[in-house]
Amino acid sequence: MTSLRQYLLVFGTFARNSLIRDMTFRANFIIEFFSSLSWVFMNLGFYILIFRYTPSLGVGTGWGKYEFFAFTGTGLMINSLAAMLFMTNADNFGNFVRQGNLDFLLLKPIDTQFIVSLQRIDWSSSGNFFVGLLLLLYSLRQMNYVPSAVTIALYIVYMICGLLILYSLMFMMASTSVWLGRNETLFDFWFYIVNFARYPMEIYEGRFGRPFRWFFTFIIPVLVAVNVPARFIARPLKPQTLQDWALAGFTIVATVVMLVLCRLVFLAALRSYRSASS
């Protein structure tokens, strides 16, 4: 009865309603739009500065200037989608749970996780997506590399996996507000975690770096989110090693596992939901 088509239609209405709402508060929208863009440009400025003093990140990693920009572009696209689709909702979910406003969502004959995850779309983060795309295209051009159709398809698949991994992490954390109460810090935590994933995983070397890298690849797979798709598209000069393929395979597994875990945690949170007294 509740088919895919219905979910798509409802999502479309969410997108539309959110857009109408964002346009009503135009000034705010513009400020947010440009603030996220400015942040991106500041970071780009920083990266450009870095590459004035070094030809690559780490020795022999293959992450030269334009490879790195391709990586950054990928990251921008994934993160902007996560911000657009999920961030406001995750934030609101935490609030709803604490203030007992989840009630109305629980009444609807549609999957609660679906509504909770997608009802608000933040269009002001859309700018970053296009900057990321442009950056990627620019880097590919500078590297004189035209990826094959298969590569592009895989790239898109792994970007989606990355997005879903980020989603699962975000909502698992948001769900914990049922038990932990006010969780502003939890969202700061989110930014810090995602911060680790902003650079190629190869920078995590050494006595602390390696275990760190291992943890954030296999236990909390944030590093995988941007790294795997980026590798497909940004390391054309190095042949794809077996290790690369193993990591890619692991990413698929990780995506599924994370989604399942997220669902379980979410349902557990709903069971503990208390609903505010009037």
Partner: protein, 342 residues
């Protein structure tokens, strides 16, 4: 099969107790302390299809909690309940499509968007066929007289108008069961009246099973004949409204504002003086004598304002529970009182 069947339903909460003081706050970090609240204590109830039942009771009595249990919003600590054959807290989509919940002063409509957009979303979520949707929407907006307002952002509407929109949204999918939690709270008298009339007409037409909670006797009097009184998590009365009033309403409160200051004479001969705030006086008098007494007072003194009211609900309830005048069978038996006329 009855529409709603509740058997020994209970809900208990554990609330974190926060204490004053730095040391207590630190201890709270290490060893949190709890307080146990019994919101609903083993209540049992049956509601047939098409009935319009009121839950009456003071704040914190458990009315809202019961509705939330029946809506599946929260899960019970003990006991069972079925609504239209479904167990509410399983939150099956099939069940959710058949009922609606409206909570006074709580909005589910998108705040910054016109109500029409929220209705549209509603249609998609409930999968209401377009023709039926348009028909129902127009019918409801006409009945409540807000047709011209549906394209205005909800935040620009008055409280009463917003409530009407909430009601419409809830009824768009023609639910078989309707739960209303204090729907007229905070509204002005006109809006209250309009909504009451609407609910009465709607329910008569559609034969929806309705449970309405309120702590206003007026809501109840206007709309239903069956009243369930809830106090401290328990049902202490389940019967007709008229019986309840007869049982308890032995008294009336007369409030008089005298035109020329409080009269010097002894007013106690008219009835029990419960408030003396010159030029205002409140008297408690036996119900049957109320009219006579008012006439007598007005014959002697000039008054600016006179009102005759039922005692406040809390007082009635408290009387119900602890009244010394009550016969043994009424006050000491924990199970609900029954009444001959239902």
């Amino acid at each position: 099969m009855s529409a709603i069947e509740i058997r020994n339903l209970s809900k208990t909460y554990r609330v974190n107790r926060k204490k004053e003081g730095l040391w207590a706050a630190v201890r709270g970090l290490l060893r949190p302390e709890y307080e146990v609240i019994h919101a609903v204590r083993s209540i049992s109830l049956t509601v047939e299809r098409g009935e319009f039942v009121a839950f009456l009771g003071p704040n914190g009595a458990g009315k809202t909690t019961t509705l939330k249990l029946l809506s599946g919003i929260i899960t019970p600590t003990a006991g069972t309940a079925t609504v239209l054959g479904h167990v509410p807290w399983k939150r099956e989509n099939a069940y959710r499509r058949r009922f609606a919940l409206v909570m006074g002063q709580k909005n589910q409509l998108w705040w910054d968007l016109p109500a029409a957009e929220s209705f549209r979303l509603h249609q998609q979520i409930y999968q209401i066929p377009p023709e039926q949707f348009t028909r129902t929407r127009d019918e409801l907006t006409d009945m409540l007289g807000v047709r011209h307002l549906i394209h205005r952002p909800v935040r620009e509407l008055s409280l009463g108008e917003r409530m009407k929109m909430e009601l419409i949204a809830a009824l768009l999918h023609s639910p078989e069961v309707l739960f209303l939690d204090e729907p007229t709270i905070g509204l002005d008298v006109v809006a209250q009246y309009t909504i009451q009339q609407f609910l009465r007409e709607y329910q008569t037409q559609k034969k929806t099973t309705v449970i309405l909670t309120s702590h206003y006797m007026k809501d109840v009097a206007a709309l239903c004949r069956r009243v369930v009184v809830i106090f401290d998590g328990r049902i202490i009365y389940d019967g007709s409204l008229s019986s309840l009033v007869d049982h308890l309403g032995a008294y009336k409160i007369i409030t008089i504002r005298f035109a020329n200051g409080t009269p010097a004479g002894d007013l106690a001969r008219f009835g029990q003086v419960i408030l003396r705030e010159p030029p205002r006086i409140k008297l408690r008098v036996p119900r049957t004598e109320a009219t006579e007494i008012v006439r007598a007072i007005l014959a002697q003194y000039a008054a600016e304002d006179v009102s005759v009211e039922d005692p406040p609900l809390e007082e009635l309830i408290a009387t119900l529970f602890t009244s010394a005048h009550c016969t043994a069978e009424e006050s000491l038996v924990p199970s609900p009182l029954h009444s001959a006329d239902h």
